[in-house]
């Protein structure tokens, strides 16, 4: 921990630790490590399970309000029991497996998807003391765990033996190949500046404030902001969310890889989508938004996990907001956006971050020069590549007869 530690931590900050110690204290010494691990798993499952449940409700409510309608409001007070009603419905529905389907893969796909999208949560530091697995290569682990999700989507699409699902499977593959690269490349600058793949180190590197109210989050630097935006774009694609929900594409492929799924398996896909969204948002918070760090020095009395949750929810609301606004891209446009726009920009951003790192010592007027150069490297290529990307696409003027 760097010097950002307050002299004496409040009991609120240590509250999760106290609870953990209280529980493990009842167990024999030899089972302690097991209990700690199990506790971490249970807490993550419970917390994200609940978050998933209410995120679906929040999404439907917010989508509803954006579309000027109330959203679900029949089950319980303000529809608060809706997720549980949905859950009961999903569990009790008949599980239909097409006769022609590849039964094993058809079953494995949702299981694999949920498992893989949960694994990544292990390395996210949810608070100052809340981290399930402190791995030296935590960031790498996160992306390795998440890499198999599109594989599961492919399995689902292929195993369904449905033409729409097959198209979805192809789309899932192409989308993954396109977006894995910008996703990773946008993370590399952060790793480079922190000099570590460990999530705790990355969060610690963003600690501290200038003047006590400007946090040292990566997102507040030119390269960090660009990296954050590109990371979020790639994350939208990775988690199959609108406007990159091409494998699902209900207006084109009906539901794509989900066409032949029903009941609980369908719910698992849904769950995995939200877990993936949560995982990637949590990673974005960790990498760019300072993790659990408070935005101002005087706000430090609020426990770190509250800050993390607030940032996480903000990003998740952003996902929902974007979904409510944007139409879907086409497959070729999606890959073009990845290869012709995001990949070059992430590479340039890498150079920009390197410059930022090397110029850390500049002071006085050179400080402004540093900012000017870094901003130019972000904005210039964005404008140029953006113009190239949208060549031939522009608002038109019309004549009248």
């Amino acid at each position: 921990m760097i010097a950002t530690l307050p002299p004496a931590e409040s009991w609120l900050e240590r509250f999760p630790l106290l609870v953990r110690d209280w529980i493990t204290g009842h167990l024999p010494e030899s089972l302690g490590w097991l209990a700690v691990s199990l506790l971490a798993i249970v807490v993550i499952l419970a917390a994200f399970g609940l978050l998933f449940a209410y995120l679906t409700l929040a999404e439907r409510k917010i989508l509803g309000r954006i579309q000027n309608r109330p959203g679900p409001n029949r089950t319980g007070w303000f529809g608060l029991l809706q997720p549980f009603a949905d859950g009961i419905k999903a569990v009790t529905k008949e599980d239909v497996v097409p006769r022609e389907a590849d039964a094993v893969l058809h079953f494995l796909a949702p299981v694999l998807l949920v498992a893989m999208s949960l694994l990544g949560l292990a390395v996210i530091p949810f608070g100052r003391h809340l981290l399930a697995a402190n791995l030296e290569a935590g960031v790498l682990y996160f992306f390795a765990a998440g890499a198999a999700t599109e594989l599961a989507v492919f399995m689902a699409g292929w195993a369904s033996h449905n033409k729409y699902s097959l198209l979805a499977a192809m789309r899932a593959l192409a989308q993954l190949i396109s977006y894995e690269l910008p996703l990773l490349l946008s993370v590399v600058p952060v790793v480079m500046l922190a000099g570590s793949l460990s999530t705790t180190h990355i969060v610690d590197a963003q600690g501290g404030w200038t003047f006590g109210w400007i946090p040292h989050w990566h997102v507040l630097t030119p390269w960090g902001f660009a990296g954050f935006v590109m990371f979020m774009i790639a994350a939208l694609a990775e988690s199959n969310r609108s406007p990159f929900d091409l494998p699902e594409a209900e207006s084109e492929l009906i539901a794509g890889h989900l066409t032949e799924y029903s009941g609980f398996k369908y719910a698992l896909f849904f769950m995995a989508e939200y877990f993936g969204m949560c995982g990637l948002s949590a990673m974005a918070v960790t990498l760019f938004l300072g993790g659990w760090q408070a935005p101002c020095a005087f706000l430090e009395f609020i426990p770190s996990y509250v800050w993390f949750t607030a940032k996480l929810l903000t990003l998740l609301l952003g996902f929902i907001w974007i979904r409510a606004t944007l139409p879907r891209l086409r497959m070729d446009q999606l890959t073009r956006l990845a290869w012709k726009f995001l990949v070059p920009l992430t590479l340039l951003n890498l150079a920009n971050a390197a410059f930022w790192s090397l110029s850390a010592g500049w002071s006085g007027p050179m400080h402004w020069v540093r900012w000017a150069i870094a901003l130019t490297v972000v904005v210039g290529p964005f404008l140029l590549l953006g113009r190239a990307l949208t060549a031939g696409v522009a608002p038109r003027t019309y004549r009248y007869a």
Binding site: L140, F143, G146, L151, F154, W158, A174, I177, L184, D332
Partner: protein
Amino acid sequence: MNLTFALIAFLILASAVLAATRRDLIHSALLLVGNWLGVAFFYLWAGAEFVAFAQALVYVGAISMVVLFAVLLTRRMRTELPLLVATRDRVVSAVLGGAAVFGVLAVAVLRTPLDTNPAKPAGSVSMLSLGQQLMGPQAAAVLIVGVLLTVSLLGAVVLASSDADGKEGAP
């Protein structure tokens, strides 16, 4: 710990054998992914955390997609795949090829001077030192591999684009 190793070995070998004997190409490819995952577990078991995650990320996350893509783009679904007869020539050539690869790898492993002193277990390699090794003494190897991959990538692009010019007329 030996039980874990046995399980991992079983996973690797079983998935490899199954992958080789499946008639369904997609199943084979997915089993291959399982195999790679097993290798990643092995690395993890051996304490090479970074390599394990890199293996999972690159092979499970990316290479598997490329393999599946290739399988799908050849557009031969399993029903149309002719049942290949396992002739003696095929078996012999497969065994010879496999043996040759194994031989090369075995010789390479055996000739590498490794510190196998059990009394002094090697400390876990930190990522920093790994990176410094790759960028320092081993930089030439990294560069050569990089150039090789770039050349092959460019070749693939050239091949693909010459096809696309004639065929794809639409935006």
